[in-house]
């Protein structure tokens, strides 16, 4: 069953058609990859789904209900979480507070901090963490929403391999426990290894979708990435 469905969603910024009649579905309990060259409209799509931006046209269904007119906090409370490309943790709050802000579920917060290996650092300010640890905090903070679906904008980009594997491991575990993920990712190896389904975007339109192997060899996708 599809947990998220986009129907003919469009968004224009001045003269730029950032998202153009985009339609796709994210199946429940999958890790779905969203790929495409820079400027393809991936982040804009995330902003539209999470309510940060309003679509000009089209409908967005989450668990069968329309959410496109809702405010970001309303969408979050329905169980649709997101992270940003650059971690937007609350720097001058402690790790513990970063989680408590969302909901005061102490056992859950503790379990998540332990899962991420951040429990010993719980009383540190978030800005005291390393870049990779901040990404981990970002990931477990959104899990405090008890989300059914989480949109991750490059969760593993720009960090050392050990920390990256740790983050991907955590994502895999949370997915195994029932959370659906839609992930923007540029690293094809990550996509191939972790995603069940891949959606490719270019110029704001879906140009291909399918299992990772199929999309990787899709001619349109290759053209989008390498030109020619």
């Amino acid at each position: 069953m599809a947990i998220l469905e986009l129907l003919e969603v469009s968004k224009r910024f001045g003269g730029l058609q950032a998202v153009n009649r985009c339609s796709f579905a994210v199946e429940e309990r999958t890790i779905t990859g969203l790929i495409g060259p820079n400027g393809a409209g991936k982040s804009t799509l995330f902003n539209l789904i999470s309510g940060v931006l309003r679509p000009d046209r089209g409908r967005i269904l989450f668990q069968g209900e329309e959410i496109q007119g809702l405010k970001p906090h309303q969408i979050a409370r329905r169980g649709l979480g997101r992270t940003f490309q650059l971690s937007r943790i609350f720097p001058k709050l402690t790790l513990w507070e970063n989680l408590m802000v969302v909901t005061e579920d102490a056992p859950r917060a503790r379990a998540l901090l332990e899962l991420a290996g951040l429990w010993p650092l719980r009383d540190h300010y978030a800005y005291e963490l390393s870049f990779g640890q901040q990404k981990l905090l970002d990931l477990i903070r959104v899990m405090m929403l008890e989300p059914r679906l989480v949109l991750l904008d490059e969760p593993a980009a720009g960090i050392n391999p050990t920390m990256r594997n740790r983050i991907l491991e955590v994502i895999q575990l949370l997915n195994a426990q029932g959370t659906t993920f839609l992930i923007i990712e540029h690293d094809m190896d990550v996509i191939m290894e972790h995603c069940h389904w891949v959606i490719a975007l270019n110029f704001g339109e879906v140009i291909a979708q399918g299992p990772p192997e199929a999309v990787r060899t899709d001619e349109e996708v290759l053209r989008a990435y390498f030109g020619g």
Binding site: S50, G51, V52, K71, P72, H73, I75, A76, R77, G81, R82, F84, R88, I89, F90, P91, K92, L93, T94, W96, E97, M100, V101, V102, E104, D105, A106, P107, R108, A109, R110, A111, L112, E114, L115, A116, G117, L118, W119, P120, L121, R122, D123, Y125, R141, V142, M143, M144, L145, E146, L173, L174, Q177, G178
Partner: protein, 357 residues
């Protein structure tokens, strides 16, 4: 103390069987929590007792001071309390949310005028008029908040500055002259002695400090801080930031109104040109709150007590020179202490990192 900020204690059972929390079969970190010394987020009992003792002592001194004070000293002490209340009121909204209220003098002035009009024109008892001053200011903030809280950063600051200027012009208008005395101003007599004014202002200071403490240690206060930290992130974490800002704005305005109302009783004369002075009544509380620490409970008190005293000492010796002080202090803060004294001490762990401080 509110339990909302407390972390799990070491004896807590592990998270098994709690809703959809990740189960504990999950590979856990390599470092056991007990091996790492981590300061707690809640003050230890002895620290709290020490804090309560210090607080009681300060309060006792504040209560006893008028017994030994001349009228000159009493007027000075009143002004110290006035600045404390002002800095705290400003901090309650701006310090927590990061929205710089640059029209703070508008709130103070509105409270002062409401007090004067209710006492002089409507014949209210001073206490009732004072509550009215708080109410009118809160109502005003509640209405304009619907509009101005939609803009952020510098635009919000400029909008508030404009509103304060608008209020100054409004008070001088011909058609409100029967009430406000127009450009000439109006005087009021509350019948309060200087000593009574002092104690009333002390009560307001204690009230605001108590409410700020309650907010700072609650989830509401924590969420206000997330607006300062990153409002967009807060909203995608499910926090209705606009509603939170509005509530803090109105509460801050209520206390500003009380503060301005008592100031009117103290000065006994109001005119638009002497009340709505941004460079004085807006900037001073901001500098005081920032010096002590934004979004803290004790920071604005510390800032107001120290800077108001400093200004008075210098003013007594070099007339005019005190005008320079706040400029110098402001530069000093921006360069060396942008986070303020209390947070600076917390960063070094010389003070515990608790939010009620």
């Amino acid at each position: 103390m509110a339990a909302t900020t407390e972390g799990p204690r070491n004896g807590d059972e592990r998270g098994g069987g709690h809703g959809r929390a990740p189960s504990t079969s999950v590979p856990t970190p390599t470092v056991a929590a007990s091996e790492v010394a981590v300061p707690r987020r809640v003050a230890r009992p002895w620290a709290r007792a020490l804090g309560a003792l210090g607080l009681g002592l300060v309060l006792l001194i504040a209560l006893a001071l008028p017994r030994f004070a001349t009228d000159y000293h009493l007027a000075f002490l009143f002004m110290v309390l006035f600045w404390t209340a002002a800095a705290q009121s400003w901090n309650l909204f701006s310090g927590f949310t990061g929205y710089v209220n640059f029209g703070f003098v508008g709130f103070l002035g509105l409270g002062a005028y409401a007090m004067a009009v209710l006492v002089e024109r409507a014949g209210f008892h001073w206490l009732l008029a004072l509550l009215g001053a708080g109410g009118v200011t809160a109502l005003f903030a509640g209405l304009i908040g619907l509009a101005v809280l939609r803009v952020r950063g510098a635009y919000f600051a400029i909008a508030m500055l404009g509103l304060a200027e608008g209020l100054r012009v409004f008070m001088a208008l011909d058609w409100v002259e029967p009430l406000t005395g127009g450009g000439v101003g109006l005087s009021l007599t509350t019948g309060l002695t200087l000593k009574q004014q002092y104690y009333a202002m002390l009560a307001v200071v204690v009230l605001i400090a108590g409410v700020t403490y309650k907010i700072a240690t609650s989830r509401f206060g924590l969420r206000l801080l997330t607006i300062r930290e990153d409002e967009l992130a807060a909203s995608v974490m499910g926090i209705p930031t606009t509603a939170y800002k509005w509530v803090a704005f109105v509460v801050s305005a209520f206390f500003s109104g009380l503060t301005g109302g008592l100031y009117a009783a103290f000065t006994t004369f109001l005119a638009p040109g002497t009340v709505f002075v941004t460079a004085y009544y807006t900037l001073t509380p901001i500098v005081m709150a920032a010096f002590g620490g934004l979004g803290t409970v004790t920071g604005p008190i510390l800032g107001a007590l120290s800077l108001a005293t400093l200004a008075e000492l210098i003013w007594a010796r070099f007339l005019f020179f005190h005008l320079l002080i706040f400029g110098v202090v402001l530069v000093f803060i921006v360069l060396f202490l942008p986070q303020g004294v209390i947070p600076w001490l917390q960063e070094r762990r010389w003070l515990p990192r608790v939010r009620g401080l």
